[in-house]
């Protein structure tokens, strides 16, 4: 049985996939489905509670929360997907090359990765964004930086095993270049592990992006971000608690959905559980 089929049989994974896909759909379809313009202010309808007109209420500028949540999902997903993609590529290459080359080089590179890994990731992200300036690209860079080291470790471990396998030796005997062996023969064998790890780290990336936005280091207003919306709601918590609750729940749901998917995928690809 394939890993995907196994993962699909797990109800938690299915639930996680449904949650995640609903949020992705809301983000992608936001321009068509959102009832209002997420940045349009309406002084006449400020801080309104949930109603038939505004399903999730309005904020202190009279902007529709539901619409802002849908557009905010775009930022969350874009930043975390971009960051994890960068981390997989950069961390994956570092880990693969380090493990493949081995020896002293490997020792030094992995020592550096351990140092990067031991940094408190939120502080690291916070300072990098603060220094580079808060915008989408810099958020991607900052969050990617916090995730490179784990992916380097994930990529290195199986590379150490694979490079001793006879098919790699056969590649050398056939005159293949190191680049070819690394990317054509070793990479395909570690890709699934990297992607499973990627789904788990997506959850962390969403949380980090939200945390940075909450601190005030997110994509600049008026662009809606979930963390920024929570922050705005928090400032009006006495008058309109739903302002903080709804974006908070949105973040929680997306992180939870991604964690559920990642957990299921990891269990399904765990060699200890596999019988092939």
């Amino acid at each position: 049985m394939g890993a995907l089929a196994r993962a699909r049989q797990n109800p938690t994974t299915t639930a996680g996939a449904v949650i995640t896909l609903l949020i992705v759909a809301a983000a992608v379809l936001a321009p068509f489905l959102a009832p209002y313009d997420p940045t349009e202010q309406d002084i006449m309808s400020r801080l309104q509670g949930p109603s038939a007109e505004f399903w999730l209420g309005t904020d202190q500028f009279g902007r529709d929360i539901l619409s802002r949540l849908m557009f905010g999902a775009q930022i969350s997903l874009t930043v975390s997907l971009g960051a994890i993609a960068c981390a997989i590529v950069i961390g994956g290459v570092i880990g693969m090359v380090s493990g493949y080359v081995g020896g002293r080089f490997d020792l030094i590179v992995m020592q550096m990765m351990d140092v990067l890994l031991s940094f408190p990731s939120l502080i690291l992200g916070l300072i990098v964004v603060a220094l580079l300036g808060p915008d989408l690209i810099n958020l991607v860079i900052a969050i990617a930086l916090t995730a490179i080291a784990p992916f380097a470790r994930i990529a290195r471990a199986p590379t150490l095993v694979l490079k001793e396998r006879a098919f790699v030796e056969a590649g050398h005997a056939l005159g293949y270049s190191h680049t070819r062996i690394l990317f054509r023969h070793i990479l395909p064998n570690i890709l699934s592990e990297l992607l499973v790890m990627g789904s788990l780290w997506m959850a962390t990336a969403v949380r980090t992006e939200a945390s940075l936005s909450f601190i005030g280091l997110g994509v600049k207003p008026p662009t809606p971000t979930w963390g920024g919306m929570t922050r705005d709601g928090f400032e009006n918590i006495l008058d309109a608690p739903w302002l903080a609750i709804f974006p908070g729940v949105a973040i929680l749901l997306l992180v939870l959905g991604l964690n559920m998917v990642g957990d299921g995928l990891r269990d399904a690809t765990d060699p200890k559980l596999r019988h092939e």
Binding site: R165, E169, H172, L174, G175, H185, P188
Partner: protein, 331 residues
């Protein structure tokens, strides 16, 4: 090409592994896996390299192909220096020397189709591309006895014997002149071993391939090879035509190996001698002749002086003081 011009000529090959353990006062151990191996293979000739596991025969074979970098020595393929070749020159030499591996389960990339595995070497060496490469790959499979529909399948769909055939087909795609086969059948079921051996011998005659056949199985070597070299703890201790060496070994170790191997003649079965002692470690080989602690004919000189491999005529050579007139006389 003259039959006497060697295809592969190995002189003084050494491979030492250095291991450091402990912190902060680390201890360095040198493991002398291959210690002075010289060997010649002529075109179309099959040479067996035999010995117990851990004697360095696989390491020696890999060092000859530069799959691991030798510590010292010289390897010439058709007169070209293998050990100093770089870039395209090395790629060209490698094309002519291919390897068949022991473990058919790890020798194929599990994520690559058979077709891709067979066409990739052709593309790398600019032999063929596209439809032409695919046709060649199919022909190659046919030559090793597999159907062309195997091209689009993955290694896990095949049995061990079939995978070994695929490994052989892959080695043949680049039209080699020498095949280094490292225990090519020892991981296979006995019933499959014979089929793969037959295939290898058939390929050898049809294509005029030379073989370095690494094995611990004397009966397989006797059946497949022209000449044999016996290795013990990193050195060749005896060499010669396979029939003569295995009928009447000169070196006490070769004799022991022969006696320990299953005897095809039922009349002589049951005469297995006891093997004295354990194989010493290559990290701390005994002084002098490495075999002397296990040797029943050991003399004083054996513990002090390493016996050189000396020719005895008839294509035979042995590294043992028992056959050195000077030492024997002094004793």
């Amino acid at each position: 090409m003259s039959n006497d011009a060697p295809l592969l000529q190995v002189t003084g090959l050494r491979k030492h592994f250095i291991m450091r353990q402990g912190f902060p006062t680390s201890r360095t151990t040198i493991i002398r896996a291959v210690e002075d191996v010289s060997l010649t293979i002529r075109p179309g000739e099959a040479v067996g390299l035999v010995g117990e596991s851990g004697c360095g025969k696989s390491t020696a074979a890999r060092a000859m192909l530069r799959l691991i970098e030798p510590t010292a020595g010289r390897v010439r393929f058709k007169g070209q220096d293998v050990l100093t070749a770089r870039g395209d020159a090395l790629k060209t030499i490698r094309r002519k020397m291919q390897m068949v591996f022991q473990d058919p389960y790890s020798s194929l990339n599990p994520r690559q189709t058979i077709g891709s595995a067979l066409m990739e070497p052709m593309r790398v060496h600019h032999i063929a591309t596209g439809a032409q490469a695919r046709a060649r790959a199919a022909a190659q499979l046919d030559e090793v006895g597999l159907p062309a529909n195997a091209l689009d399948r993955y290694p896990h769909e095949f049995s061990g014997g079939q995978r070994q055939r695929i490994g052989i087909a892959r080695a043949l795609t680049v039209e080699p002149e020498l095949i280094v086969a490292d225990e090519p059948v020892s991981a296979l079921d006995v019933s499959v071993q014979a089929q793969v051996l037959l295939l290898l011998r058939e390929l050898r005659t049809r294509r005029g391939l030379a073989f370095l056949f690494v094995s611990h199985d004397l009966s397989v070597v006797r059946w497949f090879c022209d000449r044999v070299a016996v290795m013990y703890l990193g050195r060749i201790v005896e060499e010669g035509p396979v029939a003569e060496v295995l009928r009447a070994p000169l070196h006490p170790y070769a004799n022991m190996l022969r006696e320990a191997s299953p005897e095809p003649d039922p009349a002589r079965r049951g005469k297995l001698p006891r093997i004295i002692g354990e194989i010493p470690s290559a990290a701390a080989p005994p002084t002098g002749c490495a075999f002397h602690p296990r040797c029943m004919g050991a003399m004083q000189a054996c513990a002090r002086v390493v016996p050189p491999l000396r020719p005895l005529g008839g294509g035979r050579a042995v590294a043992c003081h028992l056959y050195d007139p000077a030492v024997a006389a002094a004793n």
